[in-house]
């Protein structure tokens, strides 16, 4: 708590906000090694957008091979940027194809979606929404960002080492990932592991910070059940992170030992390489151990990426429906239920792995049950829209897309929760479609919604709504054209992670669908440049935003945009919950959390709105 005290005791804390520059801070201190949670959040935003582009580019290369197998990478995919080790003569080769989808997923999961959901929104929103001047541990917070940078660099560096980057899938199933000879990837796979170890430390630093800040630094009157839902969601997510990341780190540690010190945690005895006994490993390990460890982390990880998105969506739906969120406590309980159940469903990734089938049944039931809190959330979102005054702003459109796309992603999850159906669709494109409906249709739409919603608070300007709408509609259409047909491919038996589906006669006739998906994916990919362009154009030319352009209730909208270091001139006092929209207690259709209410009107409003 020492650093907290330091921030609070800062002598000029009361003079130096209001969005004015701090004359005594150098450029480096203000923008690079900043301790300000908002700057750190924005740093995470730019790094996540950068890796979103990298990951997207790798995805387009993957799609290029599937849509147009064996054809040279076209100029508009920047084939000249592709290292010779990835595609000699611009034609993608099988081992490099494996590399491409491995690194696509790795970048998207660990370096794009996670930093966006947690690094950006967690950092930017938590202190502002709970009425704190900064995070509990600002230095730790800065380190959290600056550790994610070397992690990203290490991952990028793996493209330039002998043998290329990791190619065993983002799940890195052992023993494929545990012995360099099985993939031909040596240093690259080690860098993958080291990078994720470093990133894990960064995530844990962030998680500790979020939890401490939320528990200890809420403004007077900001009870837990008056906290905005994004903060609640990130709070629960931070707990998941704190518990899940160490498991991944441990697993990767063991994997690296298998690779470099020739231990055999994941390597059984008697393996062969090209028909000869595998040298250097005594064996005695268990390949399924890796899967248990990985998915024990990996399934909570999925919720780490989606829970903040749910919080953001809830916030935005309430603001633009001008209505209280339907079932505020039910929303919190369902998030908590998802977080809890998320720990006991990991085995559903392993139904076909050789794990005891009885265990499969158990995991099937727990997985089925986790659909319930997700359903509650969808129904509550619909309830929020009911009777509202719905404004179709860009954040709202993206949040609505989240609701509908997450519904599809959630429902398609029931197919693979059913063990016998999973026996067919496991490791097919059905799974690929499902995960993209959840992570792109879900998390990323919520990311777009959140960035456009809080952009005015970050930079004091609005994002251009026309470009925003163009970007939204194109993304929404191309997204569905890209990922919906993947379900059809999966139903037809199309395995995932195959370099050339034409190798199988039972898949060759699906080529038109693959080509269609690729064309849609290219359009989807290039559409994202519109978002990036909008971001940068609006930074300079966007309409000036006042303190509260969306007429919103939560505390971040009570301070100037952009907000200065220290956030609040006077620590606010909170009088009511975050979603008192269209309340009879005020003549406006919103009621900021720090605005007291005339006791007479409060009496009048008693009994209204609660049933």
């Amino acid at each position: 708590m020492e650093s907290t005290a330091q921030v609070l005791e800062r002598p000029h804390a009361t003079e130096e906000h209001h969005g004015h520059a701090h004359p005594q801070l150098s450029f480096l201190e203000k923008y690079v090694f900043s301790l300000d949670h908002k700057v750190i959040g924005i740093q995470f935003m730019f790094s996540s957008l950068f890796f979103l582009l990298v990951g997207g580019w790798l995805a387009l290369l993957v799609r290029w091979q599937l849509g147009f197998p064996g054809q040279a990478i076209p100029w508009y995919l920047a084939g000249f940027l592709v290292p010779e080790s990835i595609a000699s003569a611009s034609v993608i080769q099988p081992n490099t194809y494996n590399t491409l989808f491995t690194m696509h997923a790795t970048f998207m999961v660990f370096f794009a979606i996670m930093p966006m959901m947690i690094g950006l929104f967690g950092n930017f929103l938590i202190p502002l929404q709970i009425g704190a001047r900064d995070m509990a541990f600002p230095v730790l917070n800065m380190l959290s960002f600056w550790l994610s940078v070397p992690a990203g660099l290490l991952m990028l560096a793996s493209f330039f080492v002998e043998g290329g980057p990791a190619s065993a899938g983002w799940t890195s199933y052992a023993p494929l990932s545990a012995v360099a000879d099985f993939t031909g990837v040596g240093v690259g796979q080690n860098l993958w592991g080291i990078s994720l170890l470093v990133l894990g430390v960064s995530s844990i630093m962030g998680a500790i910070n979020y939890i401490t800040t939320i528990i200890n630094m809420r403004a007077p009157g900001m009870t837990m059940f008056r906290m905005p839902l994004p903060t609640w969601a990130i709070f629960i997510t931070a707990i998941l992170l704190l518990l899940a990341i160490p498991v991944l780190s441990a697993a990767i540690g063991l994997l690296l030992m298998d690779r470099t010190l020739h231990t055999s945690f994941f390597i059984p005895a008697g393996l062969t390489v090209t028909g000869n006994p595998l040298a250097g490993h005594t064996g005695g390990g268990q390949p399924l151990l890796w899967q248990h460890l990985f998915w024990f982390f990996g399934h909570p990880e999925v919720y780490i990426m989606i829970l903040p998105a749910m919080g953001i969506t809830s916030e935005i739906l309430a603001v633009f429906a001008r209505k209280p969120i339907f079932g505020y406590r039910a929303m919190i309980f369902s998030i908590s239920a998802i977080a809890f159940l998320g720990w006991i469903v990991w085995g559903h990734h392993m139904f076909q792995s050789g794990m005891n089938p009885v265990l499969g049944t158990t995991f099937m039931i727990s997985t089925m049950v986790i659909a319930v809190p997700s359903a509650i959330k969808v129904f509550n979102w619909l309830g929020t829209l009911w009777g509202g005054q719905i404004q179709f702003t860009v954040p709202m459109l993206n949040a609505l897309a989240f609701v509908s796309m997450f519904t599809i992603g959630g429902l398609s999850g029931i197919f693979m929760a059913s063990t016998p159906v999973d026996s067919f669709i496991h490791d097919t494109y059905f799974i690929v479609g499902h995960i993209h409906y959840v992570l792109f249709g879900g998390s990323l739409f919520a990311g777009f919604a959140g960035i456009t919603f809080w952009f005015p608070k970050m930079f004091g300007r609005m994002m251009n709504p026309t470009i925003g709408k163009i970007h939204f509609w194109l993304t929404f259409i191309f997204f569905n054209c890209t990922f919906f047909p993947m379900h059809i491919l999966g139903i037809a038996g199309h395995m995932r992670r195959i370099f050339d589906p034409n190798e199988y006669p039972h898949l060759a006739h699906l080529q038109p669908i693959n080509t269609f998906i690729t064309v849609s994916a290219l359009l989807l990919g290039f559409t994202q440049l519109i978002f990036i362009a909008n971001l940068f154009i609006s930074l300079r030319t966007g309409k000036r935003a006042g303190n509260n352009p969306w007429r919103s209730n939560t505390l971040e909208w009570t301070v100037p945009s952009p907000t200065g270091h220290g956030n609040f001139e006077v620590v606010p006092t909170v009088y009511h919950g975050p979603y008192e929209y269209s309340s009879p207690m005020t003549d406006e259709d919103f009621l900021p959390q720090d605005q007291p209410v005339d006791p007479e009107r409060m009496k009048l409003a008693q009994g209204m709105g609660h049933h």
């Binding site: 494996n98 005895a269 209505k323 009911w386 509908s404 197919f415 037809a492 195959i498 709105g609």
Partner: protein
């Protein structure tokens, strides 16, 4: 402004209704024409049951999706912002919350119990070994090493019949596949059977099937196993019992021919153990015969790993 909003709402409505309609249509018989873009043929009784389960879930999820989509679109149009309009002030309804918690819970738990029996048929109720053709399948990068017990009915004896990527089974008979990978994890997948089973090094996993009619199928590797994963393809031929017997005895006689003339020392062990795997290269010294022993020792090691 209002017109624009209306236009947007209609566009959203149109898209959501469209996709809902597509989802429903997929479940119905209309798609029969587009069969090749749908589930593959059903080659086993299990495949039919898996498809029934699939279709049941498809119907339930389609109905839920259409309900959600219709309600969503209706709300978006009905409750779009109007000048001077005021949203109702409403925080929630506990009874509704309970209803929409309990109903989905009942549905998914029912689905769970419905799936349980079929799952057990696929992965737990294996045919007895004396009532089934038992085949050892030992995938490696990037091929399916297939092993029949041969004349003596025992595995890992010199008369075992080994093939690469060619799996022959008789129609109408239970076939029990025992899987052990030799290097990394592979997965035995025949789309027409709707069944997938990973082959893991160091342990034996099992899968079974009974194909009533002769036909040709493909064994696809469904677990990423390296650069040749995409073409790790096996050929599964389901023959009539007579055709299968003919094929099997041909293999047996070929095997017998290989084993029969006991030639000079170096050849005999080689013939038995190297048809499906390459030799270890000599170490560079003159101990040439040592390498042959080394190879059969290596083969034995793999055998013990299968637990037989």
């Amino acid at each position: 402004m209002i017109n624009r909003i209306r236009a947007y709402s209609i566009a959203i409505a149109g898209f959501l209704l469209g996709s809902a309609g597509t989802a429903l249509a997929q479940g119905s018989k209309v798609v029969a024409r587009y069969h090749r873009y749908w589930l593959p043929d059903q080659a086993t009784a299990i495949a039919g049951k898996v498809d029934d389960m699939f279709n049941l879930i498809l119907w339930i999820t389609s109905v839920v999706f259409v309900l959600v989509a219709v309600v969503l679109v209706y709300f978006l149009i009905r409750y779009r912002a109007r000048p001077g309009g005021k949203a109702i002030f409403y925080h929630g309804n506990t009874r509704l919350e309970i209803i929409w918690t309990v109903i989905p819970a009942l549905i998914v738990i029912a689905l769970g119990f419905l799936s349980k029996d079929l799952w057990s048929q696929i992965k737990q109720q294996f045919p007895a070994e004396n009532d089934a053709l038992v085949i050892d399948v030992r995938p490696r990068q990037f091929q399916w090493d297939i092993r029949y017990a041969g004349a003596d009915g025992k595995f890992n004896t010199p008369d075992d019949i080994t093939t690469i990527n060619q799996l022959h089974v008789p129609a109408g008979k239970n076939v029990l596949i025992k899987l052990t990978a030799q290097d990394v994890i592979h997965s035995f997948f025949v789309p027409e059977f709707r069944v997938k089973q990973d082959a893991v090094p160091g342990m034996v996993t099992k899968t079974w099937f009974n194909v009533p009619k002769p036909g040709h199928f493909e064994i696809a590797c469904a677990e990423l196993c390296g650069l040749g994963h995409y073409r790790m393809r096996g050929y599964l031929t389901v023959d009539t019992q007579a055709d299968f017997d003919a094929w099997y005895s041909k293999q047996q006689s070929e095997k017998a021919a290989q084993l029969a003339p006991p030639p000079v020392a170096p050849a005999a062990p080689t013939g038995g153990s190297t048809t499906d795997s390459a030799l270890i290269p000599p170490k560079g010294d003159t101990a040439t015969h040592g390498t042959v022993t080394g190879d059969s020792a290596g083969a034995k090691k793999t055998d013990t790993a299968t637990g037989k």
